[in-house]
Each structure stands twice: as C-alpha cells, then as structure tokens.
C-alpha cells in the first residue's frame, strides 16, 4: 500500500498540491484523473521520489521513501514520467535492457536478458529491437519506455500518461496489459487522460482538482455525471456498457 500523509507541494509561488492524504491499495490498478494542472503528475513524481518532498510523508509498503535507499526503492517501484529525453543514442533493446539495471548494476545475467525479451515481446517490440529510438514514431518510442519500466520487475508500476501518443489499439492493449500485470500480483498507479480508460480498466479511481482530492473510489462511484461534471466544470452524460460507466464527454 502507498500511504500519503499531509502532502503539500508548491513550485515557485504556485501551490500545486494542498494537504493531500490518501491510500493507494496494493494489488489494484489505480487511475489518477483530473483536469490539466490538477497536480496528478506532481503527485506521481513525488511518490516516485523524482522531486524532493516539501511537506508531508509518503510511504510505500511501510517504508518511508525519504528514508529508504534509492536503490532499494528501485527494486520495489518503477516510475515512468511523461517526457523522456535521452542523452545517448540507444537501440530499443539496449533501452529496455536498462530496466534490469537495479538488479544487476551493469552486469546483466542470462535471466536478465530473458526478462528483457519478455518485456519486448509484451509490447510487440521484438521486431524493432535493433532499431535506434530516434528512428521510431512517438507511439513506438512510448512503448519502448513502457517495456523498460516493465522489465524493471518492480511490485509497483507508476506510469504518467502512458497512453499519450498511442493509437487506440495500443492504448487498449496497454490497459489490458496493466490488468494482466495486476493479475500477476503487481500494483499499478497510472495517470490517464481519457476518463473512459479509467472507467473501463481501473479498480480504483482518484480524481484531483486544483491540488486537492475531489473524489475517490471505484469507477462506478467516481465516474458519474454529477461527480465528473463538478471536477471538470462541464456538463456530461454517463451511460453504462457491460456494467462499466461510459462517459460521453465528446458530445
């Protein structure tokens, strides 16, 4: 379980998160939703220790992230941020190979290579393994980064907008893959832009608005026209399909 207590964060003079306390359940797919600038990415980065904590505490499975050595944390959680710019020219296989770094520290074993192959296969990248990243399209590159995070083999997988730049076939495949990972015992926290992906695939939804928690719970309770209308300041209709909420936000 990830436990966040009294978390506040400001960048410059702008307050991004205000006194947030929440618990993210283990063994579930948790979706973070909310309008632009709600603080979703900041919250995810703070949990993933990409930014130093200002006030508040975060613990992951009982260990405080400010106290636990970063190498130890790398075996427990993998975080993928929204934009990734590399300083070196890498092939897809090499990038995904770096996912195993927390385990081998520069000396990959046979087992590491097997796991890299599996991750490549899971994202349909085997054929692209020898291509350089800059030769790929945005969506293919995104898949390579997701494969790297997968290869890391951590209990927790934190993904910031993994569906950005993906076509609808791959977006659905990634979400299905996350559910499959949950079945295999991993826990996933994912920032999603498209509310319907959260509604269809997530077990738990946390909605942020202006740096505070606006709603929290299973998709059925969060994805209602009332709740979402308040969060996004718009009128929208929600129907149901196969028992899952379907938000008609585009009509």
């Amino acid at each position: 379980m990830i436990c966040v207590k009294n978390l506040s964060h400001s960048i410059g003079k702008t307050s991004v998160l205000q006194d947030i306390s929440l618990e993210i359940p283990k063994g579930k797919v948790t979706a973070l939703v909310g309008p632009n600038g709600a603080g979703k990415s900041t919250l995810l980065s703070l949990i993933g220790r990409l930014m130093p904590l200002q006030t508040g505490r975060i613990s992951i499975d009982g260990s405080d992230i400010a106290q636990t050595p970063t190498r130890e944390l790398a075996r427990r959680m993998a975080i993928l941020s929204q934009t990734n710019s590399l300083g070196s020219r890498l092939r897809v296989r090499e990038l995904v190979g770096f996912g195993r770094w927390p385990h081998h520290q520069g000396r990959p074993t046979h087992e590491d290579e097997q796991l890299v192959m599996q991750a490549l296969d899971a994202l349909d990248l085997t054929a692209l393994g020898n291509r350089f990243l800059e030769e790929l399209s945005g969506g293919q590159r995104q898949r390579a980064f997701i494969a790297m995070a997968l290869a890391q083999g951590a209990d927790w997988l934190l993904l910031d907008e993994p569906l950005a730049a993906l076509d609808m076939a791959f977006a659905r495949r990634i979400m299905a893959q996350l559910v499959a990972l949950r079945e295999a015992g991993r826990s996933i926290v994912v920032v999603v832009h498209d509310i319907n992906h959260a509604a269809a695939w997530a077990d738990h939804v946390i909605a942020l608005k202006e740096g505070r928690i606006a709603a929290e719970g299973p998709p059925e309770t969060v994805c209602t026209s009332q709740v979402l209308g308040d969060i996004f300041d718009m009128e929208l209709r929600v129907t149901q399909i196969e028992g899952k909420p379907l938000v008609l936000h585009h009509l």
């Binding site: 590399l86 300083g87 770096f98 996912g99 520290q105």
Partner: protein, 313 residues
C-alpha cells in the same frame, strides 16, 4: 569496433616510438631525457581532456558543449594577464613554477565548481542557463584581459600572448608527478563509474527510477571534470575545441553509447592526435607553428560539421 581499437592502439604506440627515438643522434641520453617528459605530458593531457569532455557531455546530455567552451580559456588567459600586469615581466618569469601551477589549478577548480554548480541548482535540467552563464563569464573574463592588456607595456603583452596558446613544447617536467597522480586517479574513477554514467545519460527521471543516486553522481562527475580541466590547462594552456573533436570522433568510431567503450576510445583518439601531431610539427614542419593552432582549426571545422549535420542536440 575492437579492430579499430587495436589499430589505433598500434598507431599510438608507433607514434610514441617515433616521437621518442626518431633522429636521436649520438647524445641520445640527453635527448631522450628531454623528450620523455614531453611525451608523458602529452599522454596525460590528451587522456585528461578526453575523459573530462566525455563525462561533461554526459552530465549535460549535450554533445556540443565542452568544459573549455564554457569560459575556461578566458579565465586562464585573464589569470596570466593579471599576473603579468601585477608582477611585471621579470616577476612573472621568476614565479616558482609549482606555486603558479598550484594556484592556477586551485582557482580554476573552484571557478569550475561554482560555474557547474549552477547546473545543480535547478534540478540539473537547466543546460541553457549553464551555457549562458559560461558564455557571459567568458566575455567578462575576456574583457578584463583586454583591459589589462591595454594598460600593460607592449613587451609584457607579448609575454601574455605567448602564454595564451597551448604549448606542448614547454611542458615542465617537475609538474608531471603531481599531474600524473591527479589525472590517473580521476580517469580511473571515471572508468570505474562507466556503468553508472550510462544510466546517468538516460536523464534524471529514468536514472532515479532505476535507483541511481543521481544528484550525488552528477556532483562527483563535475568534480572530476573540474579537476581534469584545471590540471591540463595549467600544464599546457587552453585548448577549446580539442575535446569536442575527440568526443565526436569517439562516438563515430565506437558507434556505442556505453562509457566502458567510449572513454577508452576517446583517450586513445586524443593521445594519438597529440603525439602524432606534435611529432609531425617538431620533426617535419620544424616548429613553424603551434600544434594547438592546428587542433583548434580542425576542431572548429569539425564543430561546424557537427552543427550542419544536425547530429547533435
């Protein structure tokens, strides 16, 4: 890649041999005693600049920057001008070489850490700010030197001019042991850090996700760069584009992004260029110019080629 590495190694050994033994003549002991320290100096400076540039480019995640471009040569020249202006020609010439060397190394290391430290201030992302700071400081130092050069007498200015170009001809043998220990230590440390530098090159978010103590490693890398640049500049003088030329060639020749391969290749390229170039200059062209001028010229052209080709970010 391994074949290239082997070929370049052979070429390096051959040019070292040429440099040492070609045209020795009857008083060979005396001549060898003159040549050996110079050769060692060139090898050390080449390796130091190669490693400093590669590590610096990894930290900045940019292949056009070199530590020297960031106002380092300007600071060195300012120090020389200031010393000549304050002490006069005879005072400058009479300075104890070890004291001068020590002072230069300390001042430049501190300046480098202050300058590169601005990198750390803002989450290591703000390369534009670093470059601008470096360029502005470079202009400031250069203006100061020009101002000082205006008010000193012309003879003293000639001394400053001579000190403003890197020279491998007048390497001071007494400085070699200290330089050697410092350079070899820093280079060995960088080679040991190679796997971590590979991860560092992936950028801060990924490096942290993979469990690298990112900010600490950046600081350590910058200390290595500062020390290497300071020591090599104090030994031979400023060389701006040499590091760029070397790192570009190392990337082309290895085609790899692993530092365990890049660093040795860069060292090999750098030392080979210096030793072979100096041999050519001393023996064939009869010391008609300075090696550094040619290196700067070739390096500048290479820099333009890199920019035009759009290989770098």
């Amino acid at each position: 890649m391994d074949r290239r590495f082997a070929l370049l190694s052979i070429a390096l050994v051959a040019s070292c041999g040429f440099y040492l033994f070609w045209g020795l003549g009857p008083r060979w002991q005396f001549i060898l005693g003159l040549r050996a320290p110079k050769l060692i100096g060139m090898l050390l400076v080449g390796a130091a600049i190669a490693v400093a540039t590669m590590v610096f480019q990894t930290v900045c995640r940019n292949r056009i920057l070199t530590p020297q471009i960031m106002g380092f040569d300007a600071l060195y020249i300012l120090m020389q001008t200031a010393m000549v202006a304050v002490l006069g020609i005879s005072g400058y010439a009479g300075l104890s070489i070890s004291v001068k060397f020590g002072a230069e190394v300390v001042v430049m290391t501190v300046a480098a850490l202050l300058l590169f430290g601005t990198l750390l201030g803002r989450g290591t992302q703000d390369v534009a700010r670093l470059v601008l700071t470096g360029v502005i400081l470079g202009v400031l130092f250069r203006s100061f030197s020009t101002f000082l050069a205006r008010i000193i007498d012309p003879n003293a200015f000639a001394v400053v001019q001579a000190a403003s170009f890197a020279s491998f001809t007048n390497i001071e043998p007494n400085l070699l042991p200290v330089t050697g220990v410092v350079c070899l230590g820093a280079i060995a440390l960088s080679l040991w850090l190679s796997p971590r530098l590979d991860v560092l090159a992936l950028g801060r978010p990924i490096a942290i996700s993979l469990g690298l103590s990112h900010d600490r490693l950046v600081l350590l890398a910058l200390v290595i760069v500062a020390v290497l640049v300071a020591v090599s500049t104090a030994l031979v003088g400023p060389i701006a584009f040499f590091g760029l030329l070397v790192s570009g060639l190392a990337h082309e020749l290895t085609g790899s992004s692993r530092h365990a391969r890049l660093l040795p290749m860069a060292i090999l390229v750098a030392t080979l260029m210096l030793v072979a170039g100096q041999t050519l200059f001393e023996r064939v062209l009869g010391l008609q110019s300075t090696l550094s001028v040619v290196i700067e010229f070739a390096g500048g052209l290479f820099f333009l080629w890199l920019l035009l080709k759009g290989r770098t970010r």
